[in-house]
Amino acid sequence: MSNQVFKWVDDRLGLSGIYNVVLDRKVPKVNWWYTLGSASLFLFFLQAVTGIFLAVYYVPSTKDAYNSIQYIMNDVAFGWLIRGIHHWGASLMVLFVFLHMLRTFFYATYKFPREITWLTGVILLLTTLGMGFTGYLLPWNQRSYWATVVGTEIAGTVPLVGDFILRVLRGGSDLSGVTLARFFAVHIWFLPAIIVALIGVHVYLVIRIGITAVPKDGD
């Protein structure tokens, strides 16, 4: 019965075709360093899901941001767990994406025909850092406030256009509700949209080209 149902759906959606192409790929014998990409992808998924849940209670205004997070942590059932996963998952994702980049670099697997995989990966690393930077402000506590003062001030040291960049980042000359709102928008809409699109290209290329073998001595 369940086989017939699956066959009916499969005849129309081609699920087994997706399975064969995506999961049943031929791969060379590789090591644990090759799992960092999947780990990064899983962490992004985890961040997306916990982030969506946090958005149920979080309010990005200078009046409500701090209090809404206190509410999530102290009053909402399992709020501490959802925010805890998002908090630690964020650090872990930066770490894993960075290690994934190091693995690719030291195995020299960014070469032909994988240059575009590498280039999208570079942007993915930068957007991941962008997620960390924008997400850090959202609790609107002393630490996040001053971290963002310093972070935007550093961006302001760019020659000639530094002051302009600083004012664009802050949405004015000071850190304010405008800053909080634009960091929130970038954190939940702009960067995730870019990341999803680039992961699409990145993973498509991994599936299309296949993964490299571990380089041997003399390679």
């Binding site: 149920v56 209090n67 909402v76 709020g79």
Partner: protein, 161 residues
């Protein structure tokens, strides 16, 4: 592997994966659901006697509006709600206190002197001076408050959800 055990390796793996998967889904799903419904599970009990001032201040024969405000905590904020009650004195001793909340969908009714009726502006519900439904969609008469008199002061028993 013998087939005579009644279950082969493939079936065993299927069953174990399904069982473990169900347990894992419950471990993730139940906290997620309770996270979402959490605010709805916190009900604040309200039960108090609210003074409406000396009964003698209210005129005979005409419903008179009295308003008061009560706050509840929602999330990290206090929400102030305004309530209105109509005090209706029939005689010196006989009186009733009606809620101004329409029994249809909780809009606030107004006493219209020229019609001698309470009218709900939302869906044109009409109630007479005793709170009985005259016209429109309200399913029952206006709610009446339990009252008491202490030293000439009128109190209503306010029980909120």
């Amino acid at each position: 592997m013998s087939e005579s055990d009644g279950i082969n390796r493939r079936q065993f793996v299927t069953v174990v994966v399904a069982a473990v998967g169900t347990i894992m889904a419950a471990f993730i799903g139940l906290p997620a659901i309770s996270y979402l419904i959490s605010p709805a599970t916190k009900v604040q009990e309200k039960d108090e006697w609210i003074p409406l001032g000396p009964l003698e201040n209210y005129p005979l024969g005409t419903p008179t509006l009295f308003t008061f405000t009560r706050t509840t905590v929602n999330g990290w904020e206090k929400t102030a709600n305004s309530y209105g009650v109509y005090v209706m004195r029939y005689t010196e001793e006989q009186y009733k206190v009606f809620s101004n909340m329409c029994t249809h969908l909780s809009c606030r009714v107004n006493w219209k002197e020229d019609l001698s009726e309470y009218i709900c502006p939302c869906h044109d519900g009409h109630f007479d001076i005793d709170g009985q439904v005259v016209a429109g969609p309200p399913p029952r008469p206006l709610d009446e408050y339990e009252t008491k008199l202490e030293d000439g002061v009128l109190y209503i028993h306010y029980v909120g959800a």
